[in-house]
Symmetry: C2
Subunit: 336 residues, 2 copies
């Protein structure tokens, strides 16, 4: 049990809860013997789902939580009031040291707020960023920050760059990751007040591979591994990625069947095209880690199916093995 | 000549100048008898290109300008120093009343700075926004502002909403256009400081059809006609549109020929697909107007070919006919 990673999973969060969440948890423990899962939520519902599967019953424990926080609730209020919600109960498992990580497909705002209030920040971390991996032509890049706290300061962005760099190097396995800041031009004098203030600070960091500004146009081509931005901008990038990909796929599907000849061709290209488009589907990329917390918190897409839940849970193994928390702690303290 | 719209065209601006610019100007005067074009730039080069075509020579006049401002020059300095550049000479034609409009595929920064300094703002306009049309699943939306002036104030955004609304209604022909502000959630309490300050101001405007916040995810589906945002965010949206569309198209092309069977299918779907993808190609949409100036300024894509130059020139007819300048003047003065 020494190498076991204990993951608290929000069984009630997301569009497909508890069905797909429970399924994903079972798949994770069946795939890796290093995983122990706490399934947190309404026990009768979870037990009913668990009854469908065969798995090592010593590695899944159901922890009852009576309440559920919905996407429509104001996060801070919900976390304070719903002490018996699956999110709060699960985060308390991290706080008490029973769990190493927390995975949720529930309300992003509530997960972010709860994680800070309950699990707490690593010493030295000013603001914990949410950092999803986004698909590019060559692979993936880390978009940091897409969280709920907008109007960041320059010092926050510098920490995002450091934490993102550690994550990409140690969890995703990209040696000496290229760090860039989102800007509206390549020149150093371009940008808004925040970018202009942050740019020289990043340039003077000796512990990251800062390559300068990145225009949004270059993001999908994989021009940087760690893409640093303030959360409002990060959110716009992430959401536009989703919206534009799905609009284009819709257009393409309509185009493929717009003439009798193209309809025949469409049947022939469909399997190959499906694979290609899946590479650019954001929902396929497990969860987004929230960095800088005592304990890993992974926020997966609200529409997650069992595969994403499973991947998010398994991701916690690498995270723990690589000692990300300790690395962040050391790295930020050296500089502070 | 009473209905003639006189357009000064920057013959030296863009990747394909002067060849495609001159060609586009000729196509415009050949298509509409209401157009008169000043081709501004190096006379010998322009004359050489003009020699290739047949057109009504009374409706194209070459105005010599010795200098060219490149994309690498700092805009303010370039405008101040290069008095004989095609951009400055062309804008002076507006200032002196000889031209009604200016079309350029050259340096965005120089065009924006020059337009404000030389053509000047309409009385009451605090900041002239650059407002390109972006493709959506249903048609087009106006993205306002994508200009060079970042860190806007709430009052600027309110003016963008009003000017954008007038443009969409009168030039693009969308009755009672839906105006939305880019935000990171649909609820009124969400957003950064700027959005939170602007939201109630937009809500209280009786002369626009404000529908609230728009998440970036909904932009490509055409959820609003006028999309209001600060220039840094607008630039990110515009550039990501370009980058993501081209990355996806690249991926799709590779996917189409990834197996022997799909390669056969690819040949059959190609014509239909080409048309579909063209609908989502930003470069196909003429130019982006810069609103709030004395005289219409249209900035077209740097990679513009004759078709975009022609469309940008022809766009000036509608703009003048619809009295956009007068409408903006009246509308903003009522509120100030």
């Amino acid at each position: 049990m020494q190498n076991t990673v204990r993951v608290a999973v929000d069984a009630m969060g997301g569009d497909n809860a508890p069905l797909e969440i429970v399924k994903g948890a079972v798949e994770a423990v069946n795939e890796s013997t290093n995983i122990f899962v706490y399934l947190v939520g309404k026990k009768p519902d979870i037990d009913a789902e668990l009854g469908k599967y065969t798995f090592d019953t010593t590695r899944i424990e159901v922890v009852h939580a009576e309440e559920v926080i919905t996407n429509n609730e104001a996060p801070v209020l919900a976390i304070r009031r719903k002490k018996e919600s699956s999110i709060v109960v699960a985060l308390n498992l991290i706080k008490s040291g029973k769990a190493d990580a927390f995975v949720s497909a529930g309300s992003t705002g509530a997960v972010l707020v709860g994680a800070q209030l309950i699990a707490g920040r690593i010493k030295g971390v000013e603001r914990p960023p949410l950092a999803p991996l986004i698909p590019t032509v060559n692979g993936v890049s880390l978009l940091i920050d897409c969280g709920a706290n907008v109007d960041a300061r320059a010092s926050h962005l510098v920490q995002f760059a450091k934490m993102g760099s550690i994550y990409m190097e140690n969890v995703v396995g990209i040696k000496n990751p290229r760090v860039a800041i989102v800007n509206i031009g390549a020149e150093e004098e371009k940008g808004n007040a925040l970018v202009k203030e942050t740019f020289p600070l990043l340039k003077s960091c000796t512990d990251i591979n800062f390559i300068g500004s990145i225009e949004a146009r270059e993001i999908p081509s994989g021009a940087a591994d760690v893409i640093v931005c303030e959360a409002f901008v990060g959110n716009v990038i992430l959401k536009l990625y989703e919206g534009l990909s799905s609009a284009l796929v819709k257009k393409i599907k309509a185009g493929l069947t717009s003439t009798p000849i193209s309809t025949i061709g469409a049947a022939l290209v469909k399997p190959a095209l499906k694979k290609t488009l899946k590479d650019f589907d954001l929902t396929g990329y497990g969860g987004a880690p929230m960095l800088g917390l005592n304990g890993l918190v992974v926020k997966t897409h609200g529409s997650s199916h069992s595969i994403e839940i499973k991947n998010s849970i398994l991701q916690c193994i690498t995270f723990k093995k690589a000692n990300i928390k300790e690395k962040i702690e050391q790295n930020l303290q050296v500089v502070e």
